[in-house]
Structures are given as structure tokens and as C-alpha cells.
């Protein structure tokens, strides 16, 4: 088969190219450990990908070069268009979508390998390794594809809540998963071990496997709350990596194994980091539901204890402040308020106020979500402080502006042992002299529980959309300076 432009070179030349590509991927990831080198790391990693693809194209005989070029072009154009046209707030679902495509490709490759490997004229065995790895890649890839589609759809608000609930759903998940595994076993035994069945009998087994895995993937992700989707996407990311690694076993391809495994590890680690900082287990995210914080006592807590404020009042407080900390949350992302927030911070800084951002590790809906948004709005990297380093400074802070955040500033996590978020580390903003909380209403955040912070004596609520409110603050500030 090796009859491409470079096809006269020994196979080790191609393997060497793959080794170099693997080194590029590794170095790319290593550069991701610091913001200063991360851009370069991304470039190096993409260079590795380019090299690997180029070497493959040049090494093997291409039966239909036009078709191949066309499909590369189409894919590249679609990918680039999506990447360019999407808003920063829509990143999570876009990453999910891309991820699904990777998984889907693995499924198709494994299928095509099976189709190609069989010779219609004979009933020769396909080999245990090929069928086993193809079955695994097929299941993992398909679950990734359909799971990611549902996850992206949920994040984008296109997919609602699951009509099938609890036990029923779990039974159905188990059934379809079992069906996929059975189809895989049939494939392995029939064409791999026995090798006696005619083509027509085993090919459908692969597609049955795909169908069952597809339904399983949908059933798995559908019932999970929209806010848990980032965890699911990280997990699916890990799975798409593992699918690629498995395909690498099918094709005996170093680059696929190494790169796929690296991604598998990355996704898994991100998954556990997210679960940890939410103080939940992965099974709880996938199969449990958030413990319900009694809605009734919400009224009790807030009743008569809420102080409302206005942009003008806040402006006066800021005027007197020496140190201000801004705590952004998911609402800032939804409202696209990052530019207004950055403008406010700049104005304050200009008049000599010491302004910092307090960034909780799971603020927003993706790890590092707030950092990415604020960086987009040109906020200094040094101004963004992490939980551990900003918490001790709140007692010396005059004003904290909480905008669109809720769970990450909820004192119940520290004070109420029965709370569903008990034990989760939070930003202890209530230590500051005064706290301004900007959100549209008293409705709860992602975890669905009330927030005693709103009822504290030193807290005032600035109701309204985050972007609008921040803009109002900027205007009020400009008027008086």
C-alpha cells in the first residue's frame, strides 16, 4: 500500500515522522504550563499534527487524491469558520462539538478498517486484535459523538430536560450498553475467532454496535443537568482521546497511541479537578442529581434582610474605597459583561484604587472560564488572584463587587454542614467591609440552593443584568470624575 510520493522510503521513515510528531505534542502540552509559553505550545502541537498528516499523505498511495483534498478542505473550512464566528461564552459547547467530531471519526475509521479488511470472496478470519480494538473504538467513539452532541445542545439551550427519569433511564442505559457490548462480542467471536461466517453476517454487527452505543450515549448525557455539562465534556474529551489511542492499536500507529493517551489523561484529570472543586464525585455528577436545597426556607432567609442599592450609591462607596475586589461568576459570562467590568476596574485604578479580581476555580461553567473571559477584555494576568491568595486579603478590602456569581461566594459551604455544597472552598467575600452583589434576582445559581450572603448586614444587592449594571457603574463613575 505504501506507494505515495515518499513511499519508497522504509516504513521506519514514517514511524520516525510519527515519533517527531509525538515529541511536538508532548512539548506543546509542556508549554501549556505557563501563560507566557502557552501560545507557542499550541503552535508546536499543531505543527506536530501537520507533520503527522503530511507524512501520512505523502507516504501512502492515495487512490483518490482529489476526494481526499476536498474532504480536508471542507473539514478545515468548517472548523475554521466555527472557531472564528463563535462567541467566548459559547466556547464550552463548541469545544464539546469539536470533541464529538473527533470521536465520530474514530468510529468511522474503525468501521472502514473492518470493511476494507474483509475479502468478500473468502471467509478468512479477521484477527482477534483487529476486531477487538475496532469494537472498543466503535463503542467509545460513538458514545463520544452522540454524548457530545447532546452536551453541546444542552449548553446551547437547544436540548431541554430529559423526559425519561431516574430508575427507568438507568435500566435503559444498562440495556443499550449491554446490547453494544454483545454486538461487539459477536463481532469478535464470529469474524475474529471463528472467521467462518460470511461477510453479510458480521458487518451488520458493527453497525448494530454503533446504533446501541449511540442510544446509550444519548441516554447517558440527556438526564444530566445543563450545568454539569462541562464535566461531561471533559470526560468525553478523555474518551475521544482513548478512542484515538484504541484506533492506534488497530492500526499499530505510535502517533495515535501516544497522542490519544495524552488527551485521555488530560481529559480525565480535568474531570476530576472539576469534580473536586465542586466537592462532588464523578458518579454523583453522572448518575445522581444535586441534593435539593429546600426551596421553602429560602424565603425565610431573605425575608426582611435584603438591602437594595443603586449604581449611584455603589459609586459613592467606590469613591471612598482604597481596595476593591471584583468577583465574577457565570452571570458575567452570560451577560458578556467582561468588557464593562474591565472598564470599571481601569477607571478605579486610574483614580488610585487598588483593584483585583478574585477568581474561584469553578466560577463560570468551565475551568479557567473567568480567566479566559477577562483576558479577552485585556485584564492583566497579574490582577487575577486565585482563591487561596485572595481570601486572606478580604479583611483589608473596602468593597467587594460580586457580579453574576452565586455559589462560589456562598457562606453555607463553610457554615452549614448539611448543605449540598458543604466543604467546597469558597471566596470569603463577607470578610470585606461592604459587599455588593449584582444579579438579576434572588434566584439561586447552579447548585439550586439559597445564599445567606445576600441577607448579611454588610451586603447590598444591585439587581440587574451584569453588563447593564456594570455599564451603569462606569457611567456613574465617569459623571463624578
Amino acid at each position: 500500500m505504501a506507494d505515495g510520493v515518499l513511499g519508497h522510503l522504509p516504513p521506519s521513515a514514517l514511524e520516525l515522522a510519527y515519533l517527531v510528531a509525538a515529541i511536538f505534542f508532548i512539548q506543546g502540552l509542556r508549554d501549556m504550563t505557563h501563560p507566557r509559553t502557552a501560545t507557542r505550545g499550541n503552535l508546536i502541537s499543531s505543527g506536530g499534527m501537520f507533520l503527522a498528516v503530511l507524512a501520512t499523505v505523502l507516504y501512502f498511495e492515495i487512490l483518490s487524491p482529489v476526494l481526499l483534498a476536498a474532504s480536508l478542505l471542507v473539514g478545515g473550512a468548517v472548523g475554521a469558520w466555527l472557531a472564528v464566528s463563535v462567541e467566548t461564552t459559547e466556547m464550552p459547547q463548541l469545544v464539546g462539538l469539536f470533541n464529538g467530531f473527533g470521536g465520530g471519526a474514530s468510529t468511522l475509521v474503525a468501521g472502514a478498517e473492518l470493511v476494507d479488511a474483509v475479502d468478500p470472496a473468502t471467509t478468512a478470519s479477521l484477527g482477534l486484535e483487529l476486531t477487538t480494538t475496532a469494537a472498543i473504538a466503535g463503542i467509545v467513539g460513538t458514545v463520544t459523538f452522540f454524548g457530545s452532541l447532546v452536551a453541546a445542545g444542552k449548553l446551547h439551550g437547544l436540548v431541554g430536560d430529559s423526559p425519561i427519569q431516574g430508575r427507568t433511564n438507568q435500566v435503559m442505559q444498562a440495556l443499550f450498553f449491554a446490547a453494544a457490548v454483545l454486538a461487539g462480542l459477536f463481532l469478535i467471536v464470529q469474524s475474529g475467532l471463528l472467521g467462518e461466517a460470511p461477510v453479510a453476517e458480521w458487518l451488520p454487527a458493527y453497525w448494530a454496535l454503533v446504533a446501541a452505543a449511540a442510544i446509550f450515549g444519548i441516554l447517558l448525557v440527556y438526564p444530566i443537568g445543563g450545568a454539569d455539562m462541562p464535566v461531561v465534556i471533559a470526560l468525553l474529551n478523555s474518551m475521544s482521546g482513548l478512542a484515538a489511542a484504541t484506533t492506534g492499536f488497530v492500526l499499530d500507529n505510535t502517533a495515535l497511541i501516544v497522542a490519544g493517551t495524552l488527551v485521555g489523561a488530560a481529559g480525565l484529570i480535568l474531570t476530576f479537578i472539576m469534580c473536586d472543586s465542586m466537592n462532588r464525585s464523578l458518579t454523583n455528577v453522572l448518575f445522581g442529581s444535586m441534593a435539593e436545597g429546600g426551596d421553602e426556607d429560602m424565603e425565610d432567609i431573605y425575608e426582611g434582610n435584603i438591602t437594595e442599592t443603586s449604581p449611584e450609591e455603589v459609586e459613592m462607596m467606590l469613591d471612598a474605597a482604597e481596595r476593591v475586589v471584583i468577583v465574577p461568576g457565570y452571570g458575567m459570562a452570560v451577560a458578556q459583561a467582561q468588557h464593562a467590568v474591565a472598564e470599571l476596574a481601569d477607571l478605579l485604578e486610574e483614580t488610585g484604587v487598588d483593584v483585583e479580581f478574585g477568581i474561584h476555580p469553578v466560577a463560570g461553567r468551565m475551568p479557567g472560564h473567568m480567566n479566559a473571559l477577562l483576558a479577552e477584555a485585556d485584564v492583566d494576568y497579574e490582577q487575577m488572584r486565585e482563591l487561596e491568595s485572595v481570601n486572606p486579603t478580604f479583611s483589608q478590602t473596602d468593597v467587594v463587587i460580586v457580579t453574576g456569581a452565586n455559589d462560589v461566594v456562598n457562606p453555607s459551604a463553610k457554615e452549614d454542614e448539611g448543605s449540598p455544597i458543604a466543604g467546597m472552598p469558597v471566596l470569603e467575600v463577607w470578610d470585606a467591609r461592604s459587599v455588593i452583589v449584582n444579579k438579576r434576582s434572588l434566584s439561586p445559581g447552579f447548585s439550586g440552593i439559597p445564599n445567606p450572603l445576600f441577607a448579611k448586614d454588610n451586603t447590598s444587592m444591585l439587581f440587574g443584568d451584569a453588563k447593564q449594571s456594570m455599564q451603569d457603574l462606569v457611567d456613574a463613575y465617569n459623571e463624578n470624575h
Binding site: 504550563t33 474532504s71 470493511v115 490519544g260 484529570i269
Partner: protein
């Protein structure tokens, strides 16, 4: 290459991935996610093989579809994380 050799590569890469990824700070996790995502599009290599040299019609069709999907993943993933990261650099002036 034997199965065990492939497994060895897998194990080494898994350890290496663990050591590197745990060093990456939280604020870079979002670009990391889309960057890693792009790497998982490495399955494009397999897609190119079957699309370009598939011996049956069916395999070629599957291959072409796979190439399109994998390329979206690769190109989109790298671009998204590039955009995000270049904003970090701007912000980090």
C-alpha cells in the same frame, strides 16, 4: 509491533500525560481543553488512510466522512485555543 509494546507506549504516555497536565494552572484549563481536544483529532491519520486508499466504495465513503469530521476537530480546536491564548497574552502585557 506487539500488543505489549503498544501497551508500553500507552502506559508511558499515560504517566507522562498525568505529570504534565497536573502542572498546568487552572486559568489555562479552558485553552488546554480545546488544545487537547484538537490533539485527539489525531485520528485524522487513520481517516486519511482509509479515505485515500480505501479499497471498497463503502470504506472510502466512511473515510471521507471521517476526514471531514476529524479535520473540523483538529482545525477548529487549534484555532479556538489559539484565539483564547492570544487574548491571554494581550491581557498579560
Amino acid at each position: 509491533m506487539s500488543l505489549v509494546t503498544n501497551l508500553t507506549l500507552f502506559v508511558l504516555a499515560a504517566f507522562l500525560g498525568y505529570e504534565i497536565i497536573t502542572k498546568i494552572p487552572t486559568n489555562l484549563h479552558t485553552p488546554l481543553m480545546s488544545g487537547a481536544n484538537a490533539i485527539s483529532g489525531i485520528t485524522l491519520l487513520g481517516s486519511v488512510l482509509v479515505a485515500g486508499s480505501g479499497e471498497t466504495m463503502l470504506a472510502t465513503v466512511l473515510g471521507v466522512l471521517a476526514v471531514v469530521m476529524a479535520t473540523i476537530n483538529v482545525v477548529g480546536g487549534y484555532l479556538v485555543s489559539h484565539f483564547m491564548l492570544s487574548q491571554f497574552n494581550r491581557g498579560g502585557r
